[in-house]
């Protein structure tokens, strides 16, 4: 309870500063809406269901793209882990595309795939594929030889060594990759929706800005942050449930 208190106190201080800034009138309400206004906009959108729709649409896109990216990342990561010498053929390509922001590919994707759902899903896949792929490949390739030798000593077949030793050993890395990938997916969808969509949280932000409703913009931003945190938290739960001893990653 103590540690939650500390977090709550800081949030309250920020809220207070915001409220005081609003009261003081230093900035116009167009530039910085008052917290009360943002709250009422939030309540309105919640009540008439528009917020829920936007959330659902964005979430659906993210989940579809994420699942596709995971299947690809796992399949290719598997092959890459099993044939480590093949990495010389493709590792430069991976590195190249890892550094290309998915957003910069949007014009090309729209050209090739139109402004429908397809191009959005592809952006999500592109954004989340790389962290997952790299983690899965690393997790599968870097299995302790000593554990594999135990398999040898028990007369395991190659398949058994993979399925019963290498794969479970890689699970923490795979889950970390998935968690990072989900985060990237989420960031990517907002960008994609801001450019080529008629629905979703990214669209909400852009549309609100064009309508000069900065309060709705802020609502959108809050919802995005909260959704992202929620997804991350859910994943932590999954990791803790399925991985013995937790996962050592740089996020916690």
């Amino acid at each position: 309870m103590r540690k939650h208190l500390k977090a709550v106190v800081v949030s309250l201080i920020i809220l207070l500063l915001w409220y005081l800034a609003g009261r003081s009138g230093i900035w116009s309400t167009y530039v910085l809406p008052r917290p009360e206004k943002v709250w009422s906009a939030f309540v309105v959108m919640l009540k008439n269901g528009t917020l829920f729709n936007h959330i659902l649409i964005s979430l659906t896109r993210v989940l579809i793209g994420f699942c596709i990216a995971f299947v690809l990342a796992f399949g290719i990561g598997l092959l890459a882990g099993m044939f480590p010498s093949a990495s010389r053929y493709y590792s430069h390509l991976v590195e190249f595309f890892r550094n290309v922001p998915p957003m910069s590919l949007i014009p090309l994707l729209i050209l090739w795939f139109g402004i429908g759902e397809k191009s959005k899903i592809i952006i999500i896949v592109l954004a989340s594929f790389f962290p997952m792929f790299l983690n899965i490949q690393k997790g599968l390739a870097a299995c302790d030889a000593k554990l594999l030798e135990v398999g040898d000593s028990l007369n395991f077949s190659n398949w058994q060594k993979f399925y019963r030793i290498r794969l479970p050993n890689a699970l923490p890395d795979i889950l970390v990759g998935m968690r990072i990938g989900l985060g990237y997916s989420w960031r990517a969808i907002i960008g994609a929706e801001m450019i080529a969509a008629a629905s979703g949280l990214g669209y909400l932000i852009l549309d609100s800005q064009q309508m000069s409703r900065t309060d709705k913009v802020i609502v959108g931003i809050f919802v995005i942050g909260i959704m992202g945190s929620l997804c991350n938290w859910l994943f932590s739960l999954i990791i803790r449930r399925f991985v013995r001893g937790g996962v050592n990653d740089s996020w916690n």
């Binding site: 000593k146 554990l147 030798e149 135990v150 040898d152 000593s153 028990l154 007369n155 019963r164 030793i165 479970p168 050993n169 699970l171 991985v243 013995r244 001893g245």
Partner: protein, 222 residues
Amino acid sequence: MLRGVTLSLHEEGITVVVGRSGCGKTTLLRTLGGLEHIDKGEIRFPAYGKIGMVFQEPRLMPWLTVWKNITFGQFYPNQEHIHSLISTVGLTGFESAYPDQLSGGMQQRVSLARVLAYNSDFILMDEPFAALDYFTRGTMQQELIRINAMEKKGIVFVTHSIDEALLLGSQIVVLDKGLIKNTYDLKEFTYERDILTPAFISLKRRILEDLNESMHTKGDNI
């Protein structure tokens, strides 16, 4: 590196391979276990299937419980048999524990139970008690003797401790620089052994001579 080893093992006894670090005893064991290749020569086992191995580290699967680790090599473990193995190695009550909750000695005992569950005809052990404290080591040595008597499995046991060799071996093979220096037959000595008796002390002296001899004759600096 092994340079020419001809060895015959006691089928139901404990063959101890003793020597200094780097003499090739681990290589010998791993070769017997099929983990290393041989350039020349052959290994002849009577029509067995299985050889089990206990490594220097416990090498347990960290994501599995003690029970799952012990039954790791089996498809359809016999529940009663496993329970009795767990009690043999003194880990009753820890079936659901994970390796990171166990001490080194306990982990090594799980590893021992694992190889026993595997039910091989021969067990190869590579300095399995080296990382244990003196007392745990003593307990495990007695356990090993007891298991050897009960299960009638041949054991090849590698160690750099001459005392341990004297305690356990029905046969002691002294390995030095990849060659067998000497072999001692200890079948006449029953277990439990008191290695402080004159017979054992003289045996120890001879083994020490074997190991020191080559050191002197090769003109090594001491």
